[in-house]
């Protein structure tokens, strides 16, 4: 069970704006990438730790979160470094959805959740049932449960660990 504050995004928050151009060539590093994460999304986030200092645990978004076609993992590393433990949205852009799975950050599909939350609301997410409670408003949303493989990767702490464990144990990965 994870509990914390949420930030509500609009449609089409692009990967481009989550990590802006000047940081694409930086090393992928949760702590480093988190300092300027979301810099292009909102002017108030465009300063060092501008997003991170708000202490959000969740992001609630609408359509096509993290789209625009960027495959860089800085996006996911930055969000995790900033303390984000799950993102709920109507839909996610493919490239970052994949990266999120590989990093063990739940990108959770939940229809219409964006309409039922405001920035600052206290949410509670139960990964085992997929239930998301808005404690501030007393409402509840159901999300699609993750596929077993995705849960297994998250359990291992990401794809790197998952594969590393398999290689070390001499097991086939798939």
């Amino acid at each position: 069970m994870i509990t914390g504050k949420c930030w509500v995004a609009s449609d089409y928050v692009m990967a481009y704006d989550i990590i802006i151009q000047q940081f694409w060539t930086s090393p992928i590093d949760k702590e480093e990438n988190s300092k300027w994460v979301m810099a292009g999304v909102d002017e108030s986030f465009n300063k060092e730790n501008g997003f991170k200092d708000n202490g959000y645990t969740f992001i609630v978004a609408a359509h096509n979160f993290a789209g625009g076609g960027k495959s860089i993992e800085h996006v996911i590393a930055g969000l995790m470094g900033a303390g984000i433990q799950a993102v709920f949205a109507d839909s996610f852009a493919r490239l970052q959805f994949r990266n999120a799975i590989n990093y063990g950050l739940p990108f959770v599909t939940s229809k219409d959740i964006a309409k039922g939350c405001e920035t600052g609301d206290e949410l509670q997410y139960d990964p085992s049932t997929g239930t998301i409670k808005n404690l501030t408003k007393g409402t509840e949303f159901q999300s699609l449960p993750a596929a077993p493989f995705i849960a297994e990767v998250a359990e291992a702490g990401g794809l790197m660990n998952f594969v590393r464990n398999k290689i070390a144990a001499g097991e086939p990965i798939g």
């Binding site: 076609g69 495959s71 590989n102 794809l159 290689i167 990965i173």
Partner: protein, 420 residues
């Protein structure tokens, strides 16, 4: 129920008889591409898996394209570190400065992607590989590192959407126009997220490999997982001198399942343009003819091929680019560059007043040469036009075909090539 070509490729490369959309499978990867600005991190991650040798030195393809030649010390140092790590792993195919090109162009023109096989790359436009009937997919460095170690990647089998394209291609209408037309039709609103897009029909069979690459390239910008054209005579002729490996033709079954089928009559498609900041804000060029601009850019993995340079040379032959327009042309690879020199296209373009830049991603991603500054209005044959994509957030980018760019640089205003 039959299978689509993408389902067949995923089944064949995961040792299964059949796969269905939604299923998660580990597949054998034919080639893994990584490039200069992410490659070192890729190799570092690969080593952290406890491996020192890649799964196949001939099938990990390394390309320098985003940072070459280095415009500053930071990039020069990154390139040196990248070269060291590639050499350390004794990679057979390293396309470094002097032999370089945009990674996706290299992967196709050098025969590293083959029909019926799966190739991945650490850059979003890896979808381009679908042009030869491969599953081409963009991944992060984690997936690439895993594939470098194991030769495998995980995939969710995608639902399929078919674009059946009929009719005759009209003069000066290019694959880019069809791509932008479909972008306008489908929007960026998520209809095609995670889907495999299959392009087929008489107008696709009539399309050369360059056009197929443009179409498949931009499927990532439609939100799709991959775009694919089944291999045919055009594919076989293209691959014959370059293919690195054997391949077998593969096609979708007649009773394969599609979530949606769209019919497009290409004879109705006209020169098309996306207006600043949104890829799906497309209109026929005729609607905004006369709009002034000051910079022109043709290159990229979308439209930097010999066929693109040829159509521009045809339009600009014996003419002069408008005095208020700066035009940069970037061949997609050294091979394309050399062919364009031999065919005289570059002479024509230079005589017209265009600047030719070394093959690279150049200004497309806004981190290399020729970037846009405040107030620039750029007419580009690239693939993305969101605010800030080519540099300044105070610049505007119109996206269109090389033919429209060539026609427009003569007048300094957006011009429909059919009116020349």
């Amino acid at each position: 129920m039959g299978m689509t070509i993408t389902e067949k490729i995923m089944a064949n490369n995961s040792g299964r008889e059949k796969v269905v959309p939604g299923e998660l499978v580990w597949v054998d990867v034919h080639t893994v591409m990584t490039m200069d600005y992410l490659g070192k991190q890729c190799f570092n991650k690969f080593r952290s898996l406890g491996k020192t040798e890649v799964f196949d030195k001939d099938r990990v393809i390394c390309v320098s394209d985003h940072l070459v030649p280095p415009p500053n010390q930071k990039f020069a140092t990154m390139l040196n570190e990248w070269r060291a790590v590639v050499r350390e792993h004794d990679i057979t195919h390293f396309y470094d400065l002097g032999r370089q090109g945009i990674a996706h162009q290299i992967m196709v023109e050098q025969g590293h992607v083959l029909p019926g096989k799966i190739s991945i790359g650490t850059d979003s436009h890896a979808n381009t590989y679908g042009a030869v009937g491969a599953v081409g997919n963009a991944v992060g460095v984690t997936d690439a590192a895993v594939a470098m170690a194991t030769g495998k990647a995980w995939f969710r089998v995608p639902e399929a959407v078919k674009f059946h394209i009929t009719g005759e291609w009209q003069p000066w209408v290019m694959a880019k126009d069809l791509s932008l037309h479909i972008m306008g039709m489908m929007h960026w609103n998520g209809h095609l997220i995670y889907k495999t897009l299959e392009y087929c029909g008489p107008a696709i069979e009539a399309l050369d490999m360059a056009g197929r690459m443009t179409l498949c390239n931009m499927t990532v910008d439609l939100g799709a997982k991959n775009g694919i054209v089944a291999p045919d005579k055009v594919t076989a002729a293209y691959l014959k001198p370059v293919a690195k490996g054997d391949w077998e033709p593969l096609q979708s079954d007649p009773d394969a399942n599609y979530e949606a089928v769209y019919e497009v009559d290409v004879s109705k498609v006209v020169p098309t343009i996306a207006k600043p900041h949104k890829l799906d804000d497309t209109v026929p060029v005729a609607e905004i003819e006369g709009t002034p601009f000051n910079k022109a850019f043709v290159g990229t993995c979308t439209n930097g091929r010999i066929e693109d340079l040829a159509i521009m040379a045809k339009i600009l032959e014996g003419k002069r680019i408008h005095r208020d327009v700066n035009m940069i042309v970037v061949p997609a690879s050294q091979d394309v560059y050399l062919q364009a020199i031999k065919k005289g296209y570059l002479t024509t373009l230079i005589e017209a007043g265009a600047a030719i830049d070394t093959p690279s991603c150049a200004a497309c991603a806004g981190i290399h040469t020729g970037v846009a500054g405040d107030g620039d209005i750029v007419l580009s044959a690239g693939n993305r036009n969101m605010r800030g994509r080519m540099g300044s957030k105070e610049a505007e980018i119109y996206l269109t075909s090389p033919a429209v760019v060539a026609a427009s640089v003569l007048t300094g205003k957006i011009t429909d090539p059919r009116n020349l």
